[in-house]
């Protein structure tokens, strides 16, 4: 933890999590979680099943309130904010088990995430005042742009649940993009995808970073994907960070190998 003291001009990191922790019924699901993500940086968060990765996402998006520590988005403290406030501040996410608005159209799914940028009143919607039409038209145009990025423009009028699995994952990304965030949390975006779909996803993630200059925190089990695109990787196990660094460092870290492959159950527990 190097504090940016004298250097006042240095920009605040996009995400700064300091010693985050949460206890569920006496069990520390996440403990002393520290992470900094800079602008346009892509960081991977990996760990064995049940290591607490999704809990970290839930902490960072206000689904759970951390019992310890605090986290900042571009210097702004996020503790105590509700999910929608965190999203409005600039952290968006996707879900491990896809959570789309199933019975709504693809276009509507994206438009909903832009609702916080829409301001026409109940009266203008009821009387269909010019403001209603203008905002609706603007939002529709933007929604189509985002759908274009994730290659779903031609599926705009489909009902979300009728899309194939890989496209549903991409729609979730488009919906997250629509919130206009600074930090995107992707929870196993490649889960259940075939190699072609994964390659396409990789392209999309790269396009998004180039186009929107956003930072990404990625949970993924597909190691080849993680090694390929992440600039830094943080590994957690039993809620505790056991390693962090460049992909090649992580790949050769004995503790990481141990956590994934397991040496002996007791020893692993001791080493934590």
């Amino acid at each position: 933890m190097s504090e940016p003291k004298a250097n006042e001009t240095k920009k605040e990191p996009v995400l700064k999590a300091q010693h985050l922790g949460i206890i569920f019924g006496g069990l520390k699901a996440v403990d002393d979680f520290c992470l900094e993500i800079g602008e346009s940086e892509l960081v991977g968060l990996i760990g064995p099943n049940g290591a607490g990765k999704t809990t970290v996402f839930n902490l960072l998006t206000g689904v759970y309130q951390p019992t310890e520590g605090s986290y900042y988005l571009c210097g702004e403290k996020m503790n105590g904010k509700k999910t929608h406030q965190v999203v409005a501040a600039g952290i968006a996410r996707t879900f491990q088990n896809i959570r789309l608005f199933k019975k709504l159209t693809v276009l509507e799914n994206v438009k909903i995430a832009m609702n916080m940028y829409m301001h026409y009143s109940l009266a203008s919607s009821i009387l269909r005042l010019p403001r209603f039409w203008k905002e609706e038209a603007d939002i529709e145009e933007k929604a189509y742009e985002l759908l274009d990025i994730v290659h779903l423009k031609d599926k705009a009028d489909f009902i979300a649940e009728n899309l194939p699995y890989g496209q549903q994952r991409r729609l979730e990304i488009a919906r997250a993009l629509a919130t206009g965030m600074k930090l995107l949390l992707l929870d196993e975006p490649a889960a259940g995808m075939n190699p072609t779909e994964t390659a396409e996803l990789l392209d999309i993630i790269n396009v998004i970073r180039d186009k929107f200059h956003i930072s990404v925190l990625l949970i993924e089990h597909d190691m080849s994907l993680v090694m390929k695109i992440c600039e830094r990787i943080q590994v957690i196990d039993y809620g505790v960070t056991i390693a962090s660094g460049k992909p090649e460092e992580i790949a050769n870290n004995p503790r990481v190998i141990e956590a994934y492959l397991g040496k002996d159950d007791e020893e692993v527990a001791l080493s934590c």
């Binding site: 998006t61 689904v63 509700k82 999910t83 929608h84 999203v87 409005a88 968006a92 996410r93 879900f95 959570r99 789309l100 608005f101 199933k102 019975k103 709504l104 159209t105 509507e108 799914n109 438009k111 909903i112 995430a113 609702n115 916080m116 829409m118 026409y120 109940l122 919607s125 009821i126 009387l127 269909r128 010019p130 209603f132 039409w133 905002e135 609706e136 038209a137 529709e140 009028d157 489909f158 009902i159 649940e161 009728n162 919906r175 997250a176 629509a178 919130t179």
Partner: protein, 346 residues
């Protein structure tokens, strides 16, 4: 919906307005011409009943179909509107206001009183979902009923009579048209879209930046407002009422009509409410069997077509006109979406 071309929509609105006008003049012609003789007044009564039932059922459908939550206490909101408006019009009786103005005041007072109750009930209750929310709405409606049975100003448990007769069929017709239009516009706006998202997945909705609590309370209040308006229509048409009318069974009746008509389809609500409130009246000898028949139909609908008879289908006059004018030429995007929506719902 093609939002880039408002003009097209305005034409559609005008066509629908024309359709409503035609319906209005047909009914007016029917009643004024006295074709039905002595039964005219009776039939007008049924149509008036249908009017406030339509507003009740449509407003309940905003909760059940659009927001995906139950209210089993909608009659409670209706009673708030009915009693509040009746108290105010009683107080204004000697002010010498023209009837139409008094009626509008009554409707607004009824709506606003009910909406305020909606906020007060909604803020605590909407923290719950599903079964528990349904039970809590019953509890609130029962508390409202008990309160009206105890307050002196609402008749103290006896019939409150002598309410000014302000509404008749013609006015109720237009009030209903306006109410339904407003609710339709609400559903087809960012508000309706957001509330539907909450229905589909409230966790994903909040992760998309939607303030779930705010939109839920807002929708609940919106719905309560129209229940209050319907209550005001009821009070000033019936001119007498007793709190026990607005009981659990009355609420359940509205819910039944929503479900049979189709959750999420305002068309279904309108047709469902109109038919279900008119049919038993027209077949007087069967009136004891009415709720029995309702319940059987309801179970059958649940087993065989859980989305209700109309599903999420919405009637569109413009669509029909287009089809009539140019055959299959206009099988456009919108229809495709609707059909897919209907299919998805099943």
């Amino acid at each position: 919906m093609n939002v880039k071309n408002p003009k097209k929509h305005f034409i559609a609105y005008l066509i629908n307005l024309a359709g409503v006008l035609v319906l209005f003049f047909l009914l007016m012609g029917l009643f004024k011409s006295n074709v039905l003789g002595a039964r005219t007044a009776y039939l007008m009564g049924i149509c008036t009943t249908a009017c406030y039932t339509i507003v009740m059922v449509t407003s309940l459908n905003i909760l059940v179909g659009v927001m995906g939550e139950f209210s089993l206490g909608h009659a409670g909101f209706m009673s708030v509107g009915a009693y509040a408006s009746a108290i105010v019009t009683n107080a204004l009786a000697d002010a010498g206001l023209p009837t139409i103005l008094l009626f509008v005041i009554a409707l607004l007072v009824g709506g606003v009183a009910s909406a305020i109750t909606g906020v007060l009930v909604g803020i605590p209750a909407l923290r719950l979902r599903g079964d528990y929310l349904a039970i809590v709405t019953v509890a609130f409606a029962e508390i409202i009923r008990v309160a009206f049975c105890n307050f002196e100003i609402t008749g103290g448990g006896r019939t409150m009579s002598g309410i000014a007769k302000l509404s008749n069929f013609y006015w109720c017709f237009w009030v209903t048209v306006i109410c339904v239009t407003i609710m339709y516009m609400f559903v087809r706006s960012r508000f309706g879209r957001t509330v539907k998202a909450i229905r589909e997945d409230y966790i994903a909705a909040s992760a998309s930046g939607v303030n779930v609590t705010f939109y839920k309370v807002m929708t609940f209040t919106f719905s309560a407002f129209f229940a209050g308006v319907a209550g005001a229509m009821y009070a000033h048409y019936m001119t007498a009422m007793i709190p026990t009318i607005f009981n659990f069974n009355y609420s359940a009746e509205f819910l039944t009509e929503v479900i049979i008509g189709g959750t999420g389809s305002l068309t279904g609500s309108i047709i469902g409410a109109a038919l279900l409130s008119a049919l038993p009246e027209l077949m007087r000898q069967f009136s004891t069997y009415r709720m029995l028949a309702y319940s059987i139909v309801l179970v059958l609908v649940m087993i065989f077509k859980p989305g209700g008879i109309f599903g999420t289908y919405e009637f569109s006059l413009t669509r029909i006109l287009k089809k009539l004018l140019s055959g299959e030429l206009f099988k456009g995007k919108k229809k495709l979406t609707d059909e897919m929506g209907g299919a998805a719902h099943e």
